[in-house]
Subunit: 645 residues, 2 copies
């Protein structure tokens, strides 16, 4: 089959689609944020894109009607009307065609999954009752389902049973039956609607919720959207939310309502984007860390935060949508994926599922970076997992000019190691308003390479540059001068900011290092390193390695996998066997409580250095620093673990 | 084992119990209506009975305190304090010790049933979490259940899961687990409560609802109560209620609420009587005719009343108590037994279950007399069933001085065939207020035997008696003179009343006769004749046979089985295998639509005669009439069916 590669700008996201696909299809398949209210029917005119390179089909009548002359002259096209007619196509999605102003990463890797959803639809024509055939309505229905599709032993949901006599007669005995898990009739629809069957996958992060609407016939993502977790006002991190629940009699209900509302709000947007009806969404899968998992289910997470941190339930949980207040079909099933332990949740299970660590022969590591970062190490024989309190610094919190990855955020930075001049890129190419997490990683790496900071993170007082200032409140480095910015102020990085990043990356590195020690392996044994999470997709993996966020693994073995937790949720949504695999994964993984490891203190101390106290573990970085003439004259102290002493 | 036979007066109900049992235990086991608020703890002093014959244990201290001197001198005892110490004991239950003023028959036959309820309780002591054992709460619970009781693959109800962490810790990890159907945890209780496990069986009649509270550990009936069906204001019979549903937009909900409220009201009384908590009632079984079955489930019964009368569902239905609004444990299961067809319901299934017709080698017939009367004929090879619209005449409706079987109703009548003098008994031995159904059967039989009416039901104008009057509005016979009654009026039976009874009994007889024809058998082939239903328990079976309510079967083959439908509901409540048998019965029985039988008209005409147009089918009655000198000079015409012509 002839294919085309489509590159979506400004993200640079690539996808391969069949030659002749529409740009909208390519965008959906890439999971790119592109408005399409009418679902590709050429009515709404919202899916405007700019063709920057490559061949496409000529303008259609619909486009002539819906695009202005100016837009047409600028290369604007409607994604749903335009077919891809070259091997490579470069498409820019302008800001106005995006659904959210905030750039939240909601794509993921795509692991091939056999489509075998738990919800299926069957169309039947039923024989009408007669004096010769006075079988019950239910018998008529199930016997026809058995005759035509070989289905047996079917149960029926109580409220569907109540509707049964009317719907059979109103539809003149031709109905579509919605069956969950091959055993329960959860809905009945008039006529033939087998081609309309949808599902909703949700990744509930401490900070962000991402939702995906899928076509369960094709397994394709129809629309993607995300939202800040409405629980944030109750506490930025998991512990403060659990404290809220413990201190407020109605706290558990409040937090459950908040997160369910958020999940429903995303779904509403997805339904509007695609024209899918709420009743047509028959199943939902949910992943999240253990606290999010418990709060979503309305289970008190109090004991998850108290030693020895047992979760209330590890197994995947099925709840009726109606019972939990999820706005899909009221009889639809909400499947919450299993968790591993009190601090490693269903999101980690989903990452392991998506990256296929559980079935790989060679050893792999995965880090899912968020306010809590999960670290996973293993292969098909053994998997270890732990959780690191990396905090919200990478989301822009606790950083002087930190901001989320939204319009005007500096997202990439380069510093000339000799002139110390700064080059940066902002999201949407506007004047900078602040710095987002990915640029903070760049800043620390670039400052190390330029000698502005040393391996301990301290500013180098011997450097003389107008950008490096030593003020009363501490040292700072100017990234953008007042006249360049949108905030009428210099945008700087402070000594404190560097410390915040050091703490955050040290937490992650400690997790990586302790898991490797636990398993008795080194970075040389690791075949693949997966970096997951919204933030993870935007960072420069080399700079992340330079600052020592993760062990020094050759860059060609590093894979940026986007929202792998969301991908896992989608896999579980469209595949029964993946759901079963998730249960096995949750049982197989050994949770390592980092704080209980005897080397924890030493490792955490060593990990705060940039990249690491023991520089011999980062030979590539040494080479680079030596080449740039920035190799430290004085090596940092290395805390030895008990074992080594 | 030594046993005692206890006879309860005034009903004459007999029960055999172990020697030394208390009278209360015997009364429970007999299903006799006897108040016992404290449940036999010697606190309430309500279970007063009079020992009329036989040996019992001496008065206890408690009795000396709770019974007055007068009561003690009259032979009053507390049933819970008094042990049975002779082979035969005669006990009278005085009116004040009965729960209901209205006498509604709610006992049934007792078929031996192995106690194997679907709900079971398990007490477990669970290991507390530690750093060495951080299994989830749920894993701890199910693994202990597996270790101690071998239970596997358990699911947990969502709201119990939510309560799990708190209850485990509040009970210091010692809990009682309530499990339904060996697969679902439906409740958790602190400490050990395995000895408290109750169930509720309900028989929903068109006119009356009977409820039984059972101890699911012993299978024993703890209390019995009944209520007029609160749906009566919406229509006396099934068809008028279905019409109401069809004509009123909210009709279905109204009628469902009415019957569920009634069921809940009975339960409330039963709980008060026994001190059982609502939460401790974990399952409920329901029987009723198909219309009652559908209305209880909130399923529109419209199509049940339209040719070809298919039910919406035949299978037994399980619904969560919460979903249907039943006031047992909210996670408890409500099991509605299967129905046979549009007009033969779960009550008929229950009667077949209780009378064991489905497993008998010899042919049996059963009639369950009510506003609709079900007739069943069969054995383990084949069962036929039909439904007869016998109407409410036996409940006292449409009879001039008819009344329900309540205080003051004439319930038994004898007429001297020579003097035409009348002897009667009233319920509670007070002055008569009216006539109830059982007396109406007596009246017709006695009037035939006395020659007051002839085999066509006409009053004999040749008789001269002050009791027989020919008024403008028709003939009437005085049963009780004004000065004897409580209503300041003569109580009479009119020609119209006789016609009503003729129509009602003809409907039942037609059912019996057509089923026998269908199967090609005669009354000689029938081994046992079961007469079921509240009304059925009070009639004189000989008089019922004289008036031709059922075919002439030797009286020693007639069994009065009381509320057999209720008994079937109780059997299904305490036994999983009986529930499975009910499903098989519902599938096995062939429903015969009487109106569609070609002989229906002829048979119905013949059946209106007393006892029957073809007198040769009633040789015993002929003998009796001949002996009394009342054998008709002119024999009635016999309509021949098509086949015989």
């Amino acid at each position: 089959m002839k294919t085309s590669e489509v590159i979506f700008q400004p993200e640079g996201k690539r996808v391969t689609v069949p030659f002749g696909s529409t740009i909208l299809e390519a965008a959906k398949s890439a999971g790119v944020d592109l408005i399409s209210i009418c679902g590709g029917r050429g009515i709404c005119g919202k899916c405007k894109v700019i063709v920057e390179g490559g061949e496409v089909s000529p303008l259609t009548q619909i486009e002539r009607k819906l695009l202005s002359e100016l837009e047409r002259s600028m290369g604007y096209r409607l994604a749903c009307q335009t077919s891809i007619l070259s091997q490579v196509l470069v498409i820019k999605i302008p800001e106005e065609s995006r659904t959210g102003k905030q750039r939240l990463q909601v794509e993921g890797i795509e692991t091939p999954v056999k489509i075998e959803p738990l919800v299926k639809k069957y169309f039947v024509k039923i024989k009408k009752p007669s004096l010769q055939d006075i079988r019950s309505d239910f018998d008529r229905l199930v016997e026809e389902l058995k005759r035509t599709y070989g289905l047996e032993g079917l149960k029926i949901t109580y409220d569907v049973l109540r509707r049964l006599p009317l719907i059979l007669r109103e539809s003149d005995w031709e109905v579509t039956v919605v069956i969950w898990n091959e055993d329960t009739i959860i809905d009945l629809e008039m006529g033939n609607s087998v081609n309309r069957i949808f599902g909703y996958a949700v990744d509930i992060g401490t900070t962000k919720i991402a939702g995906y609407l899928l076509d369960l016939n094709s397994g394709k993502v129809l629309a993607v959207d995300s939202l800040m977790n409405p629980q944030i006002p109750y506490g930025e991190d998991v512990i403060s939310r659990i404290t809220y629940v413990s201190n407020n009699p109605d706290g558990l209900n409040e937090l459950q309502r908040a997160v369910v509302d958020g999940v429903n709000q995303i779904l509403k947007t997805l339904l509007e984007k695609t024209g899918v009806n709420q009743r047509e969404v028959y199943e939902m899968t949910v992943v999240g860390n253990t606290a999010m998992h418990h709060l979503f289910l309305g289970i008190n997470p109090k004991y998850v935060a108290l030693a020895p941190y047992p979760p209330v339930i590890k197994n995947g949980v099925n709840v009726k949508a109606r019972e939990i207040g999820a706005d899909i079909n009221p009889n639809g099933n909400v499947h919450v994926l299993p968790v591993i332990g009190g601090f490693v949740g269903a999101d980690a299970v989903a990452v392991i599922l998506a990256t296929e660590i559980y079935r790989r022969k060679k050893l792999c590591m995965a880090i899912d970076i968020g306010t809590n970062t999960e670290v996973v190490l293993g292969n098909k024989n053994e998997i270890l997992a732990s959780s690191c309190a990396s905090g919200p610094a990478f989301e822009g919190a606790h950083i002087k000019y930190g901001m989320r990855a939204a319009t005007g955020a500096i997202e990439r930075i380069k510093i000339d190691p000799y002139t110390l001049e700064v080059q940066y890129e902002t999201i949407d190419n506007v004047k900078p308003r602040g710095i987002c997490g990915s640029a903070m990683v760049d800043v620390v790496a670039e400052m190390l390479k330029s000698g502005i900071i040393d391996v301990s993170g301290r500013f180098n007082k011997n450097i003389s540059s107008p950008r490096l200032r030593f003020t009363k409140s501490g040292a700072e480095f100017v990234l953008a001068w007042k006249n360049e910015t949108a905030i009428n102020d210099d945008i700087v990085v402070t000594q404190r900011d560097i410390r915040e990043i050091q703490l955050a990356k040290a937490a992650i590195h400690t997790g990586c290092a302790l898991l490797m020690k636990k398993m008795g392996v080194t970075e040389q044994d690791i075949d693949l390193m997966f970096i997951a999470g919204a933030f993870g997709s935007y960072i420069n993996p080399e700079n992340a390695r330079i600052i020592g966020m993760y062990p020094e693994i050759p860059l060609n073995r590093v894979r940026i996998v986007g929202n792998a937790a969301g991908t896992g949720a989608r896999m579980a949504l469209i595949s029964k066997s993946f759901r079963e695999k998730a249960e096995k994964i949750a049982r197989k993984v050994n949770y390592i409580e980092l704080g209980a490891e005897q080397d924890f203190q030493a490792e955490f101390f060593n990990s705060q250095f940039i990249p690491y106290a023991d520089l011999t573990r980062y030979p590539e970085t040494i080479k680079l620093l030596k080449r740039l003439g920035k190799y430290p004259k004085k090596l940092p102290p290395v805390f030895m673990s008990n074992k080594n002493r």
